[in-house]
Amino acid sequence: MNDNFEKIESYLNGSMPAEEKSLFERELAESDELQQSLKLYSIINTEMYNAQKYSDQETALKNTLSQLNEKYFRQQSAPVISMHRNSSFIKTAMAIAAGLVLILVAYFTFFKNSNSPSQLADLYVKNELIHLSQTMDGAKDSLQQGIAAYNNKEYNKALQLFEAIYTAHPDNSDALRYAGIVYLVTKEYDKALKAFDELALKKELFSNAGQFLKAITLLQRNGKGDKDAAKSLLQNVVKENQEGSTEAKQWLNHW
């Protein structure tokens, strides 16, 4: 019996010598039982190979579905507005909010001008990035769920959502930005830099915080050459009047 299975294994993985193979095929033609064993062996191999290959994806999908289940089956909630496409209202509201944040940060940094750039970046992370703005319009889509998870400090959950959104919608730069921010606050600086690098390359964005966030990450990592690299990024942010240029200008005064 086991001998047959050994033959089946080498037949299926292609390692059976030609002569043995034709003998085995003759045996197969004559035995229903052997045919059934071969079929079953092959199905099990394929199904288990697929199960292992896709096991991480399946876990991620189950995670997404569980969150949706929670929302659509276990909560008696009002119908939600899905944010498939950002409306101009949301964009305007976000721009105003971002402006307010910048003003607050500028005000904050003005009174903190005794700090070094690294300390200022640290304060910025602690004061401005530890909480992300949510639901300008009451929308509760997956991005908002990610933001909610982030604000609850459930960073793994938030990251999974942001990354899943970004993978499926590479034009959703907010998801990329937030994924980078998760990496930044969880001190995975290399991954944060990768995300912000990618963000900075998105030339189509009206307002791009990629370089500014990258500078903050470098100041936080504080490795060899990081401070100089951050300085040159901040100079660029000011020169090109990119998002974060107000803070960048203030911080450069402390160099």
């Binding site: 019996m1 086991n2 299975f5 050994e6 089946i8 294994e9 080498s10 993985n13 390692s15 064993s37 079929k39 079953l40 062996y41 199905i43 099990i44 191999n45 199904e47 288990m48 190979y49 697929n50 199960a51 292992q52 290959k53 896709y54 994806q57 399946e58 991620a60 999908l61 189950k62 997404t64 579905l65 569980s66 949706l68 289940n69 929302k71 659509y72 089956f73 276990r74 119908p79 939600v80 899905s82 498939h84 889509d141 997956s142 959502l161 899943a164 959104i165 993978t167 499926a168 919608h169």
Partner: protein, 191 residues
């Protein structure tokens, strides 16, 4: 031509939260209603709905899945069959309201595909269950051999000879196949 609802199958494969949210928004209510009407709870409905989506995903990842009817009808079909199975196991209530009359556009191929999805998932569950009953050495070797490594690489990882690894794999597979065949479910799973 591809059915426009194939996008939901793609969303499962890509784990696309935005399109999946749309799927929940559109279809979860109907499934919840069907299960609540038939002795189930909201938790039952949530479990059945998620399980149905996972079975579609599992079938679709094999690359052989083309939707030929609307997703709503297809999901309803799978959820209905799954819920009937649960009720049969519980042997408590009679099912009153799960007809698919509203979906008279479901073709025979969709019924077959729905059945395939369910069988595929049940086979996987049985395999995982039987594998977990085996000894550690068999489990390790089989999992390594299904991880995409060649038998030569598996042997190196386990620090054994190639001939031994091959022989051991066939022994373990023989054991697994015997366990699977002994299951009362075996014949109904259409291998």
């Amino acid at each position: 031509m591809q059915h426009p609802d194939q996008k939901y199958v793609e969303a499962l494969l890509k784990n696309d939260p935005l399109v999946l949210e749309e799927l929940y928004e559109k279809f979860a209510g109907k499934i919840k209603w069907m299960i609540l009407q038939n002795s189930g709870t909201e938790t039952d409905a949530a479990d059945i709905f998620q399980d149905a989506l996972i079975s579609i995903y599992n079938k679709a990842k094999t690359g052989n899945f083309e939707l030929t009817c609307p997703m709503e009808a297809f999901l309803y079909l799978i959820c209905k069959n799954k819920w009937l199975n649960v009720l049969n196991k519980r042997r408590t209530q009679k099912v009153t309201n799960t007809d698919t009359e509203g979906f008279n556009y479901i073709g025979e191929d969709s019924f077959r595909l729905a059945e395939d999805c369910i069988l595929h998932q049940e086979r996987s569950t049985l395999l995982a269950e039987k594998l977990s009953q085996m000894g550690e050495s068999c489990k390790n070797l089989l999992r390594l051999s299904w991880s995409g490594l060649s038998m030569d690489e598996v042997a190196k990882k386990l620090n054994v000879s190639y001939a031994y690894a091959r022989k051991k794999k066939s022994e373990c597979m023989a054991k697994l196949i015997t366990l699977v065949k002994q299951s009362p479910k075996f014949n109904s799973l259409k291998w």
